[in-house]
Symmetry: C2
Subunit: 536 residues, 2 copies
């Protein structure tokens, strides 16, 4: 999410979300921190969406609920259609979504907004130009300069060149593939590779890719048609996105080719292509279920071939490997992008980032998207085409880049980083909760309940000892451990009573320390120890 | 770990361990299940170790403690030296470790044991030939056919050919790189690439690799010498392994080149090479500490270059990426095996696996090591060189391959899979403990303690409500939630008293259900709910 401000008026470009990393235990989603914008809701002129991927538009429902509707939300036609479907699921009505066709201009406070058509792994990708008296701020979104995209609409290089001649004040560009030399393969190179791979398959073919990659799905359908196979779309988002794209005439299935998932078994294996979600090994995805023999409509057979027309997003490697291995255990085969050119990245490589810099001739550059490594490499590419290193800024979430007629500098830190969605709770990262979860997940937990008399601090009931997530092997060992801990409790309480310690907090602290020490000596683990003392 | 048995007598080849996956919460190590062998300790004639890596020798201390000392443990000289150092750390004395030089033969019950020299990413790698009246069982261990290894000792192809002529009954071969066409690059190709990479570095150079890859460390030292830089070894295992290899004259540092870690700051940056542990992004490794600005002796500078002379083991990608990104944030640069040929795998590729099959002409083949995918591909390679598919067996942990003069078949399942090390507890996978940990780590935990009178079931103290790992945002929200849950407890206990329910188990069950329902409605989370009822 990028906030662009001038004269106190705000235009927001993209409202994306992140998925939690493995150590953010129990977190469902990670959102940008909207708190600064909540206070300034009246200053927002518009939201502009570059495209419909989750990392660019996925936090919009949360934004609308927390900050409210802006006067307008603009984007390409597919973007708007996908987002509308998403907002419907969130039961958000009357949201002022509207298509802004590429090349048209609309005023939003001090800015004139214009979308520039780009190519990416989803149709209707748009860079965002925000024009003001000082020039154009150009936010590229995710892009590649695909010269032969599947829909025949390459990135609008001439419009970018015109903006460059007019004067680009700041280019905020995609850094995702800043480490790859050369030019990304065209999306349309995938089609022939799919046909070649399909033609060597004996049984059923299961192709998996991102559901939003409409052109990839189209090419898989075309490959199936070329080899006279029927096609079933499997997975909720696969069916939903294809329906949206079809209704906008961005995707087309030859008549009679599509079959329902439950009809798959009615056709001979060698006559079927299944296009499925699950290319990232997602736990509940259709492909993962197939790999675990747990899908209602598709049971993998030993002659089947699963084609991964996608590469794992960093962090997903293990889940993908696990899915692949389960498929091999069933006896089916797997073809990945390492085996055949059946995938093309949607993000431009080094020569494309340089082309963008040379077309737009920006005064200032801010590398966007990608990790610290790729942003640094993107900065290096900018230097290599002649941008002054002092005009290149690598940002940090929440830190503003202040640009005036004379120059630019990184300034105020708004402390807007991330907020976590944890069930229905949306809030700042709760480090204590996550830390406790990590401790619980490592070593488990001991709870000890002691009941003491309010008269003299003596125990009036046997201590209760409960542990969870502690591996003891067998029931006897567990009972023995509970008995030993009860002895520790007895001893601690006796001493407390003898020393006339009567404050519950202090007694609980003593119990905590004594039990933790005992458990460490006995098990060499440091579980969470929770003593509860009840006074009656 | 492989158990080979004949006439009731046993020889064990390798006793390795695995590291836990991310979802085996809190598990420290994963060992093979020794229980069958515990009962048959007297039948064990010998243990043979192919090499000193953890996945082949790391479980030996646990084996010795559980099953006891076998009559003999054989291996190459470096293997024996590394294992001895490991056993010392475990305070295991009088273990009958002894070198068995390659080519010599020793009798162990019905078997004659012979080691065959192979090349790998650690010196003194040995395949194990177990000869009996029916022929040779050949267990390759991890190997490559490196024609120009750093120590000038290529794999002993002529001895393998002789064994093939004599008659190999069963070949158990490494499948790790069965998916890579061609031949693995030679280890000695890494040296020139390191010199080339070093020569372009301006500041300090930090090379990271596996500490046991003595030849890699040697080549890094030689590259430093060629460019007139000093060398510091950083990380405990890096120093330990280099010392062992030096004392065996398998590694050699030119005189005057080595400096201590604490001397690094005394030399100009462009005169220093640091060789460090941490190539897998391990949490407590030297490199990870450097990346987090937390190493006692090495603070990374912005002109420094970190060279990853290793590739991430599957599953470690995220940790490695994170380390790389932290290094870039400091401003230093990173060179990985994707940027320059500074790493060579220690496992042979497809043409090498085929060469092994053609040299040894086995009657039966059992693909070893590698996941289901790679074992399947290895089986395919065996078919491609003419082995009958019926003579190829893909095994499962705990299932025996029964070979007699006539044929072979997979038979009895001994149910020997894995055991977990969890602190000091070593046992069967405790699914309940892991499941509880997973639940705790996802959604946290609620504990409610109610104290009731043994006379009439009425409450004699206010209920205590404790939650951990539950993100509530602020203290007030937490207090409110605790109050609301206390109300739920009051209501449940009142109803129980009214209905004359007096069994503690039933009351606890009611409390569990009512609180879980309340928490789900309120937070849309399903934490572990632990009600404790104390009767006084």
């Amino acid at each position: 999410m990028t906030v662009v401000e001038r004269d106190g008026r705000i235009v927001i470009v993209d409202v994306g979300l992140m998925f939690p990393t493995a150590d953010q235990l129990g977190i469902d989603l990670v959102l940008p921190d909207f708190s600064m914008l909540r206070e300034r809701a009246d200053d927002i002129e518009a939201i502009v969406l570059t495209h419909g991927h989750e990392d660019h538009a996925g936090a919009l429902p949360y934004f609308l609920r927390e900050v409210g509707n802006p006067p307008a939300i603009y984007g390409g036609l597919l973007t708007i259609s996908m987002v509308r479907s998403k907002l419907d699921e969130h039961k958000l009505k009357n949201v002022p979504l509207q298509e802004l066709p590429a090349g048209e201009r609309v005023q939003a406070g001090p800015f004139e907004i214009e979308l520039v058509h780009m190519a990416h792994s989803i149709p209707d990708m748009r860079a965002v130009a925000l024009r003001s008296d000082d020039g154009v701020v150009l936010i590229t979104g995710d892009y590649k300069f695909d010269q032969t995209p599947v829909d025949g609409k390459p990135a609008d290089v001439s419009r970018l060149a015109e903006l460059g001649r007019e004067g680009v004040l700041c280019l905020c560009g995609d850094s995702t593939n800043a480490d790859r030399p050369g030019v990304a393969p065209s999306e349309s190179s995938v089609g022939p590779a799919l046909i070649e791979a399909f033609s060597r398959c004996k049984g059923r073919i299961i192709v998996t890719s991102f559901a939003s990659n409409i052109h990839r799905v189209q090419q898989a359908i075309d490959a199936a048609a070329a080899l006279d196979r029927k096609v079933a779309l499997v997975g909720r988002s696969m069916r939903k996105n294809f329906n949206i794209a079809s209704s906008l005439e961005m995707a087309h299935a030859p008549s009679g080719i599509m079959i329902q998932p439950k009809e798959i078994e009615d056709f001979p294996d060698e006559k079927v292509v299944v296009i499925s979600t699950g290319s990232q090994g997602e736990p509940l995805s259709a492909l993962r279920r197939m790999a675990h023999n747990d899908h209602r409509d598709v049971q993998l057979h030993s002659k089947d071939t699963v084609i991964f027309s996608a590469t794992p997003i960093p962090g997903n490697e293990r889940a993908v490997n696990e899915t692949v291995d389960h498929i091999y255990r069933i006896g089916a085969s797997v073809i990945t992008a390492a085996d055949a050119p059946i995938h093309a990245s949607g993000h431009g490589w080094q020569e494309e980032l340089k082309l963008m810099l040379n077309l737009t001739k920006p005064r200032h550059v801010m590398p966007f998207h990608g990790d610290a490594k790729r942003q640094r490499l993107h900065a290096g590419l900018a230097e290599s085409v002649g941008i002054d290193p002092d005009d290149i800024f690598i940002g940090t979430n929440g830190v503003a880049l202040d640009i005036d007629g004379k120059g630019a500098k990184l300034t105020e830190d708004f402390h807007a980083s991330m907020i976590f969605v944890d069930g229905v709770s949306v809030g700042e990262p709760d480090e204590f909760a996550i830390r406790d979860r990590r401790k619980l997940s490592d070593d488990g937990l001991f709870i000890v309940v002691a009941t003491i008399s309010s008269d003299d601090g003596s125990q009036v009931a046997d201590p209760e000892v409960i542990f969870r997530g502690v591996a003891m092997g067998d029931d006897k060992a567990e009972d023995d451990l509970a008995d030993e801990i009860a002895d520790v409790v007895d001893k601690t309480l006796e001493e407390a009573a003898k020393d006339k310690v009567r404050e519950i907090d202090l007694i609980q602290e003593d119990l905590h320390d004594d039990i933790a020490e005992f458990v460490w000596k006995k098990l060499k683990r440091r579980p969470l120890v929770l003593p509860v003392v009840v006074e009656v």
